[in-house]
């Protein structure tokens, strides 16, 4: 079967979500583009954050988009991989920190 849930070509159609709800779609894209403007953080820094988060939320579209965005900004592959590790470290830390809850529960239930 050739059909899959993810199609890279769908990324190009992202903007079309406004067609089914113009107001909300437009508000989202306005907000989105505002977020990534130069601010207290540079657009370059935000691009790296977006790349890391893309991996954490495991969105293939965002990974493609922010890898390309990083290339356009001259961000190196070493910087990109470090950002991914930062995301991965938080993600695994977030899993592991729940180990404390497990330990607490274990201790509470144990004699």
């Amino acid at each position: 079967m050739s059909k899959t849930y993810y199609d890279p070509a769908d990324l190009r159609k992202f903007g079309k979500i406004t067609e089914w709800s113009e107001e909300l779609g437009t508000k989202f894209f306005d907000y989105y583009s505002k977020v990534f403007e130069e601010g207290a953080l540079s657009a370059r820094e935000k691009s790296l954050i977006a790349l890391a988060v893309s991996h954490v939320v495991k969105c293939p579209y965002c990974i493609d988009a922010y890898t390309k965005d990083g290339l356009q900004r001259g961000i190196t592959k070493e910087e990109m991989m470090e950002a991914v590790h930062a995301g991965a470290a938080i993600e695994s830390g977030a899993t592991l920190v729940h180990g404390v809850q497990m330990m607490n529960k274990y201790d509470k239930l144990s004699m």
């Binding site: 190009r12 657009a43 370059r44 390309k68 290339l71 356009q72 900004r73 001259g74 190196t76």
Partner: protein, 355 residues
């Protein structure tokens, strides 16, 4: 792409893309013929243009030959050591006649590596007497370190107050060497340091040194001002190098870059990206509106890209030997889908962004 493949020009390899018509076919068919993407002509029609027309002529760009010491993967000239086309002294004479009487204030010498033309120095000496305001030589930098006979080029440039514009794909070794060949980065750094030593690129110096950045792959250049900031910071911190401006240039889908796009299966996505980034404000200032491009054999073109696609000017006057500015100014510029490259984002020309 295999190492052997990238070491030769498309011409040498007898690749079908060495044929300009084949390139034009690709640019006209497929996604553009099917209507999936609008043709450039349809796109500019949306803002009331039936075609592009020249404004005042400002830049005379002369390509003195396709011979080059490098074989960069993205080269739109398909230049390389195996290209033998170089401008003769006779054609240079004809160019000099034109330089003396043209209204253009900028002379832009390009190639290949223009310095490899045996008459290059003679031509620079003669042309620099002609009162051109901005005399640009597009140097790939490594030529300065390629062979002893070129070691004194920085002094030669300085003597004639040449404005040096040099390509530099990135401030890191890995990215630069990948696009332009192993060892290119270190040689370029050395050449830039030598230019700096002569006063080139220093703050306040009249010896102008600008860098050209074009993306090393199937993506568009980022914001020119912020790229310039990043380049300046990295080159100063790592190598104590200074330069004046960075021109960010979009790779146009022709010649070896087109070959790369097709081979890496990026062609359609890249064209989508160009069309999506189309900026109507860039249209008025595209390079062809103030430039005439002369090929090594004296033919006239709207721009360097049309030269590589062998689209000669749509004018009665087609050769430098019959040059007539007035007649030439009254022409339609020849366009195709590659023109999206000049109008994407902030626009792109030999002098960087235009919008």
């Amino acid at each position: 792409m295999s190492e052997a493949k990238t070491k030769q020009s498309l011409h040498k390899r007898n690749d079908q893309l060495a044929n300009a018509n084949r390139q034009l076919e690709i640019l006209s068919n497929g996604i553009f013929a099917s209507g999936e993407l609008p043709r450039f002509a349809d796109k500019i029609a949306e803002i009331g243009h039936t075609t592009l027309r020249p404004n005042k002529l400002e830049i005379l760009q002369i390509n003195v030959g396709y011979m080059c010491n490098q074989v960069c993967e993205h080269c739109h000239v398909d230049a390389g050591p195996d290209r033998k086309e170089i401008m003769t002294r006779e054609t240079m004479q004809q160019c000099l006649e034109v330089i003396k009487k043209t209204g253009a204030h900028t002379l832009d010498l390009t190639g290949g590596a223009p310095e490899m033309n045996p008459n290059f120095r003679w031509f620079v000496e003669e042309a620099s007497k002609a009162g051109i305001k901005d005399f640009i030589v597009r140097s790939n930098l490594t030529i300065i370190r390629a062979n002893k006979k070129y070691y004194d080029l920085p002094d030669f440039f300085k003597k004639h107050n040449v404005h040096v514009v040099s390509s530099m794909p990135h401030w890191t070794r890995g990215k630069t060497d990948k696009q332009r060949g192993n060892g290119v980065f270190d040689k370029s750094i050395k050449a830039l340091q030598e230019l700096n030593e002569r006063g080139y690129g220093m703050p306040g110096s009249s010896l102008r040194l600008d860098l050209v950045y074009n993306p090393s792959g199937a993506f568009l250049p980022g914001n020119q001002a912020s790229m310039e900031k990043d380049f300046k910071k990295a080159l100063l911190e790592d190598f104590n190098i200074q330069f004046h401006h960075l021109f960010a240039i979009t790779n146009l889908p022709i010649s070896r870059f087109l070959d790369y796009l097709i081979a890496s299966e990026n062609y359609e996505d890249y064209m989508y990206a160009l069309v999506e980034a189309y900026n109507p404000e860039a249209v008025a200032n595209v390079m062809c509106t103030n430039t005439i491009s002369v090929s090594w054999d004296g033919w006239l073109y709207d721009c360097d890209f049309n030269q590589m696609l062998d689209l000669k000017v749509a004018s009665k006057v087609k050769h430098i030997s019959e040059y007539n500015e007035e007649l030439l100014q009254d022409r339609n510029i020849i366009i195709s889908q590659h023109c999206y490259g000049c109008t994407a984002g902030a626009g792109s020309s030999c002098q960087g962004t235009v919008a």
